[in-house]
């Protein structure tokens, strides 16, 4: 019974864990491995209390937006991350207008905005008409 519960654990000291370490480190962001780095950049270019909305290629809740929103909330603590899509896939336009910054990752956005910071596949925008 003990072995049944913990058999896979018992192998850990005897295997090359480097592969497991890499796999587990990538696991949360396996779809977009560069997303955490982008969020880290957004964090460095914003201040506590700022409101930020996130735009990603998947603007469907279960199709990837929930991941992006939750992950952004985790990396951008202290700021207020506003969702642009709800769990039932309704768009929340007012959050787009209310956010001080728009963090855009993996897509282009054609709106009048100033680019605050840009790197890799992402950019931090500040909308012009306030």
């Amino acid at each position: 019974m003990v072995l049944g519960v913990a058999s896979r654990l018992l192998e850990l000291p005897f295997i090359d864990r480097a592969q497991s370490v890499r796999a587990m480190a990538r696991y949360p962001d396996r779809a977009w491995p560069d997303f955490p780095l982008f969020l880290q950049g957004v964090r460095e270019h914003t201040k506590p209390g700022d409101t930020i909305a996130v735009i990603v290629p998947a603007m469907n809740w279960d199709g990837g937006y929930s991941y992006a929103y939750y992950r952004a909330s985790y990396f951008l603590t202290g700021r207020e991350v506003l969702p642009l899509v709800t769990a039932d896939n309704a768009r929340v336009q007012k959050n787009f207008l209310a956010a001080k910054y728009i963090a855009v990752f993996g897509v282009g956005l054609r709106v009048p905005a100033d680019i605050v910071w840009r790197e890799g596949r992402g950019a931090l925008l500040r909308l012009r008409q306030r």
Partner: protein
């Protein structure tokens, strides 16, 4: 890693006088195991109290508050009589195997920064958010956009992470998995010590190994590890209290169950399940025994009051729970079949069931069986009223829930079987308390 290790050690040291105030006889595994659990639970209340008092969490404020608790507990412990015989646990070679499994779990829990979705969407997110303002961010919890974090969940685990982060001088989730190891080890030590009172060192060591394995939550970073530890220890202490009618075990039980209620809502349900089981198994003495459980409710109360005061929503009761129940009741057999199909480690549960049927002295363990059964009923009842998709809810929670209740029932069944293999004189307490219920 150093900061996390120092945090774990600090919690254990903070808990030592508390454990001794509860049980002056505690030594060895029991003292170490309960000390860490009390330290962890106390740190939650220290940070909660500071936050309510609008005192910012800093290393200094937390240290001063902890020292006050430490000194008060030490004074209480010193006042207690010294002439009680201390409890010694004889070690066995098998304990080395348990130690090896702990090393294995430590390697697993620290493979990478905590990777579980629910860590960075619930438990870790809250801890990291609170750390930003050095206190509980009620505005964050009350925000309609943050209902995904389950704002109603109690905060023992996030606030323990905050303590680690305070010692670390900032947020880092790289080594926080070590706290899950510490909770599992603490439970194994408690189980080892309690088992040693009832069986031989060999079987006690074997059981501790099993309990350790069951306490190794694969959901590292979530509150499961803490809940399994506090809840498991709480139920085991109630069991011991019922068998020996021992006030010390009642005190341990009440405190552990109170802390379990501050880990997750399932911990609160466990407290209710234990209360019902105590009443059902000792009807004539129930009022006296329920009074002994009162501290658990006192510990659970602050969070319940705070979450009501801040109107933090509970997702499972939103909308009309009754109408969802009525819609699903006609499909009860399908739902139960689905739960049976999705049972993780079915052979483990079949072994437990066979053990219950085979073992003599089943009556002796009826409290543990009843608690497990009632808690299962609570779990299943939630599936009947959940506003989430039933299939998704079951798949995402059922393996975790069944893991939460595995330790006490395994402990009881194992001891029954082990003691039935031993001659009566080799099995201390084997039948003690049989009629005491």
């Amino acid at each position: 890693m150093t900061a996390t290790l120092v945090a774990i050690l600090s919690l254990a040291v903070l808990g030592i006088p508390i454990a001794l105030a509860v049980d002056r006889r505690a030594r060895g595994p029991l003292l170490i195991g309960t000390a860490f659990l009390y330290g962890s639970g106390t740190m939650y209340f220290v940070l909660l109290t500071l936050s309510i008092a609008h005192i910012r969490w800093t290393l200094i404020s937390v240290t001063i508050a902890s020292l006050i608790v430490f000194c008060v507990a030490a004074l209480i412990a010193r006042r207690q009589s010294d002439d009680v015989a201390s409890q010694q646990t004889k070690l066995h070679l098998l304990d080395l195997v348990t130690l090896f499994t702990i090393v294995c779990y430590t390697l697993y829990a620290t493979l990478a920064p905590l990777w579980e979705w629910d860590f960075w969407a619930i438990w870790g997110l809250k801890a990291r958010t609170f750390l930003e303002i050095d206190g509980i961010d009620w505005r964050f919890l009350e925000s309609r956009w943050n209902t995904f974090t389950h704002p109603d969940y109690p905060l023992l685990v996030p606030l323990n992470y905050d303590f680690v982060a305070l010692l670390n001088g900032g947020w880092s989730d790289r080594w926080m998995g070590l706290t899950c190891v510490a909770w599992a080890v603490a439970l194994a030590l408690v189980a080892r010590s309690l088992a040693a009172r009832e069986t031989t060192p060999f079987f006690a060591a074997l059981l501790a190994m099993l309990v350790a394995a069951l306490g190794f939550s694969r959901y590292v970073g979530l509150a499961e590890g803490a809940l399994i530890a506090f809840g498991g220890a709480g139920v085991l202490f109630v069991r011991a209290a019922l068998l020996d009618d021992d006030d010390v075990s009642w005190r341990h039980a009440a405190l552990m169950l109170g802390f379990a209620a501050n880990c997750k809502n399932e911990g609160l349900a466990l407290l209710v399940a234990v209360t019902i089981a105590v009443v059902a198994t000792s009807w004539s003495r129930a009022p006296v025994r329920l009074r002994k459980l009162a501290p658990a409710y006192l510990l659970a109360a602050p969070w319940l009051i705070l979450r009501a005061a801040h109107t933090l929503p509970t997702d499972i009761v939103e909308g009309s729970a009754i109408s969802r129940l009525l819609v699903r009741l006609p499909h009860a057999h399908q739902i139960l079949m689905f739960l049976a199909e999705e049972l993780t480690k079915p052979w483990f549960w079949i072994a437990i069931l066979i053990g219950i049927l085979l073992a003599p002295a089943r009556r002796r363990e009826r409290f543990t069986y009843l608690v497990t059964a009632i808690q299962c009923v609570f779990y299943v009842a939630v599936y009947f009223i959940t506003p989430n998709g039933l299939r998704w809810h079951v798949l995402s929670s059922w393996p975790r829930l069944t893991a939460q209740i595995a330790v006490p029932i395994t402990f009881a069944v194992f001891l029954m079987l082990a003691n039935s293999l031993l001659a009566e004189e080799d099995a201390p307490h084997a039948e003690a308390g049989f009629d005491e219920y």
